[in-house]
Amino acid sequence: MTRRPIRLALLLALGACTEQATAPGVCPDYCPGGQISVVDTIFADMIVRDSAFSGYREASQGAGLGVADVPGMIDSRAIFQLNGSVPPRVTNRPAPDTSTVPITIDSARLRFNIIRRDTASKNLWVKVYRLPLGLDSTTTFGQVVPAFTDSIVDSVNVSALLASPEITDTVTLRIWGDTIQTDSAGHVVQVGADSTLILFFHFDTTQARYVAADSGRVAYGVRVAADTLASIGLGSVESDRSATLKWFYTYPDTNAAPVQVTAERAATFDTFVFSPSTPPIDSNLAVGGAPAARSLLRVAIPEILRDSADVVRATLILVPVGPVAGAASDSFTIVAEPVVADLGAKSPLSTSSSFFSAKTIHLNVADTVRMEMTDLIRAWALDTAATTAFMLLQTAEAATYAQIRFYSTRTPAFRPALHITYVRRYAFGTP
C-alpha cells in the first residue's frame, strides 16, 4: 500500500466530519414517543390584586388638547393664554432720543396646530373665543362657559377651507414658505408634513384687543362643531406645538415713515376643560382621561408555567365597565408596562419596551379588550425574582378626556384574566 491512498482516506474521514442527523419524521412509528402538546387555558386568578390611581398628569400637562362636541356625551374645549411682553411704548427714533412713543396695533395673527382630526368629518367648524386672563390648571369647565357664550372672536369652516384651491404662486410661497389654502375671510390653512393642519386666523384690533396694561397678554378658547365627528386635537406647549399670536404694529419715526414691527408670542399655558368631568376613581380599573389615571395589576405566575410549560402566547383579557363616550371615530391607546418595583401608585415603570403591549381603544365600543403580553409573561415565567406587576396607562396621557374603566378583581364575574397558550414540558428520557 502506498502513502497516497492512506492520505486520501484520512482526508476523506476529516472532510466528512459534518452532521446531518435531522430528517422529516414518519410518525408515530419512527418518531420519539413524546408529544409536543399545546394547552390553552384562561387563568382567571392570575391577576391577584389590582388598584387604580389618578393624578399622574393634568390636562395642562398633556401632549395635546382634546376638543370635541358630541351632544349628550362630551363637550371638550381647549383654552390657552398667550404671552404678552409687547410693550405699549417704544423708544423714539432716531437714536439717541430717549423719549418713548406709543405703538399702534394694526392686527394680529393667531396660529394653532390641529394635530388630530377625522378626515371624514363634515362641516368642521373651529371657533375661537376670547377668554379672561388668569387661566391655570384649576380652571374648570364651568368657569369658562360664560366666555364661550358671548365672546366669540372668529370661526372658520375647516372643511370648506381644505376644499378651496391651493395657492401656489411664488409670492405666496415666499411669504408663507409653502402652499396655502384660504377663504374670503382671510383664514389660511397649511398642511404640514405629518398631516398636521396649521390654521391661521387674522384678527383686527377689535378681535385681538391689545390691552396695554397686559402688554398684549390674551387668552383664547377653542370649540368645534360639525355635522358629524366633531373632534380634533390641538398641539400643546408640552408637544412644542402650542398656539402662537403674532402682533403687527407700528410706531412713528421722526425722520421717516412709521416703523412696521411684528412680535410673535407663544402660549404660556394651555389646557382643555370638558363636561361631564371624569368621575372619581372607584373600585374599577381606570386608565387614561384627564387627570390621567393608571391601574396597577399584580400577577401571580402559576407553578405550572414556571416548571412545566413554555408560554407561547399570553393575552390579557379586560372587560370594560362600559363604552367610552365620545366622538364615534375617536380612539386612544392604552399600554401595559411592567413595573420595576411594586410601590403602588409610585411604581417605577420599566424601560424595556420589548415587554410593552398596546391596544387601541375605540370610543363608544364596549368590546372585551385583549392585549398580547406574551413576551412579558414568558420573561416572568423564567425569572422568579422579577416583580410581576404591570401598569396600564394611556399613551399621550392627559391629551384627551377619554378614560376607560375595566372591571377589577373585586368583580369576580368580569375580573381581569390571562388567556395563556403554553406547550407542556416535553417528556424527555422516555423512548
Partner: protein, 371 residues
C-alpha cells in the same frame, strides 16, 4: 510497578474522564422509538470482516478473553463516517454523521494477567426528527413545525481482566459501567411567529447502568480457535436533573465464534450472538446476529472481507427489523509493527415495519499503536 503498568493506569484515568462525552456509534431511524441503536463493539479490523473476527480481536471490546495475548501496552481507536439514506415509501432522506465508536487500551500487568480498559458505544441516541402539522389553537388552525433532537449516547466503560490459564485456554472477565448523556431539544415553531412564540425545551438526560461479562477462548488445535462469551446488563436508568424518568431492563447476551487459520496468510471466522432486548421497553425485540469473514494476506497488509446479518433491537411492529451487510477493508502496519492503520468500508441495508428501508455506507478508520 513497571513503566508499562504506569502508562496503563494513567491511560485508564484519562479515559474515564474523557469517554462519556465523546463516543457515539452509527445511529439508525429504528432506534428512535426505542432505547437507541446498540453499538457494535468492534474494531475496524473486526468490522471489515462483518464482525466475524470480533470475538478473536483484542481491540474489539466484545470478548474479554481475547486480550489475554496482548503482550505490550497497546491502544486502539476506531472512527467512522456514515452516509445514510432512509426511504419511507416515496419519501427519501439523506443523513450523515461522524462517530468514534470505540477506544481501547490494553497491556499486561503480570506475565499471565492482562488488563484492558476503554469505552465503546452501548446505545447511540443521536437523531433529529422534524414534523409538520396543523393544530387547533384558540379555535383557529395553526400550522406548526416540530423538531425533536437528541445528541449523545450511552457509553460502555469497560475494565477487563484476562488471563491465559492454560496454553489452550484463556479466560476473561469485565465490569461494564454504562454512562453517558444526551442533549435533547424539542422545538415547536408556529408559522404565525408574530402571534405565537417558538417553544424551545432543552434538557440533558443522564444515563446510568451496570453490567458484567465473562468469556473464554479455547484452541482446539493450532489452526482452530473457538470463543464463547456471555454478558448481563442490569438496568438503564435515565435521569433528568437528578430525577429518574425511566428505568429499562437491559439484555442478557451471549454468543460465540470460531476461527480457522489454515495458513499464515489466510484466516476465516464466523460468529453469532443472541441478545434479549425484548424486555427493554416499547418496540424492543430479541435479536440474533451472525457474521462470516475472512482475512487474507500477510499480517502487515491484509485484505478483509465480511458479511453479516441479523435483527435490530428496536423497531415498530411485532417483528424485529432486519439487517444485512457486506464489508471490506485493508490494514497496514508501520514503524516495524508499532502502529497499524485499518480501513474499512461497510454497506448495510436495514428493513423494518411500515416499509422503511435504511441503507448505510460507512467508511471506517482505525489506528492501533504500541508505544
Amino acid at each position: 510497578m513497571t513503566r508499562a503498568s504506569l502508562v496503563l493506569l494513567t491511560a485508564f484515568g484519562a479515559l474515564a474522564l474523557a469517554a462519556p462525552t465523546s463516543v457515539r456509534a452509527q445511529d439508525s431511524q429504528f432506534g428512535i422509538r426505542g432505547l437507541g441503536t446498540p453499538g457494535r463493539g468492534e474494531s475496524v479490523r473486526a468490522r471489515a470482516t462483518g464482525g466475524a473476527f470480533a470475538p478473536f480481536d483484542p481491540y474489539s471490546p466484545l470478548l474479554d478473553a481475547s486480550i489475554a495475548d496482548v503482550r505490550r501496552v497497546t491502544a486502539s481507536v476506531t472512527g467512522g463516517t456514515s452516509w445514510r439514506t432512509v426511504d419511507f415509501g416515496t419519501q427519501s432522506n439523506s443523513l450523515r454523521g461522524a462517530r468514534f465508536p470505540a477506544f481501547l487500551i490494553a497491556g499486561p500487568i503480570s506475565p499471565r494477567l492482562v488488563i484492558s480498559g476503554g469505552f465503546s458505544t452501548y446505545l447511540d441516541r443521536s437523531f433529529g426528527v422534524t414534523t409538520r402539522d396543523t393544530i387547533d389553537v384558540r379555535g383557529n388552525p395553526e400550522p406548526v413545525t416540530d423538531e425533536v433532537t437528541s445528541d449523545g449516547a450511552v457509553t460502555d466503560l469497560r475494565i477487563a481482566l484476562a488471563a491465559r490459564v492454560h496454553k489452550n485456554l484463556a479466560l476473561g472477565f469485565a465490569l461494564h459501567g454504562l454512562t453517558g448523556s444526551t442533549q435533547v431539544t424539542a422545538i415547536r415553531r408556529f408559522d404565525d411567529s408574530t402571534t405565537y412564540r417558538t417553544s424551545n425545551a432543552r434538557d440533558e438526560v443522564a444515563y446510568h447502568g451496570l453490567g458484567g461479562s465473562a468469556s473464554a477462548l479455547f484452541d482446539l488445535n493450532a489452526d482452530l480457535r473457538v470463543a464463547a462469551w456471555a454478558r448481563s446488563d442490569t438496568h438503564l436508568r435515565a435521569d433528568i436533573r437528578g430525577r429518574t424518568v425511566a428505568d429499562d431492563d437491559l439484555p442478557f447476551s451471549f454468543g460465540g465464534g470460531v476461527r480457522w487459520r489454515p495458513g499464515t496468510e489466510a484466516a476465516f471466522a464466523a460468529a453469532v450472538a443472541w441478545r434479549s432486548w425484548a424486555g427493554a421497553g416499547l418496540n424492543a425485540h430479541d435479536t440474533f446476529n451472525w457474521s462470516l469473514g475472512t482475512e487474507l494476506g500477510s499480517l502487515v497488509s491484509p485484505l478483509r472481507l465480511g458479511v453479516r446479518g441479523g435483527q435490530l433491537a428496536f423497531g415498530p411492529g411485532p417483528k424485529a427489523p432486519t439487517e444485512f451487510g457486506i464489508s471490506a477493508g485493508l490494514g497496514k502496519q508501520f514503524s516495524g509493527g508499532r502502529g497499524r492503520l485499518d480501513f474499512g468500508l461497510e454497506r448495510l441495508e436495514r428493513k423494518g415495519g411500515s416499509g422503511v428501508t435504511e441503507r448505510v455506507w460507512t467508511f471506517l478508520l482505525g489506528l492501533t499503536v504500541r508505544p
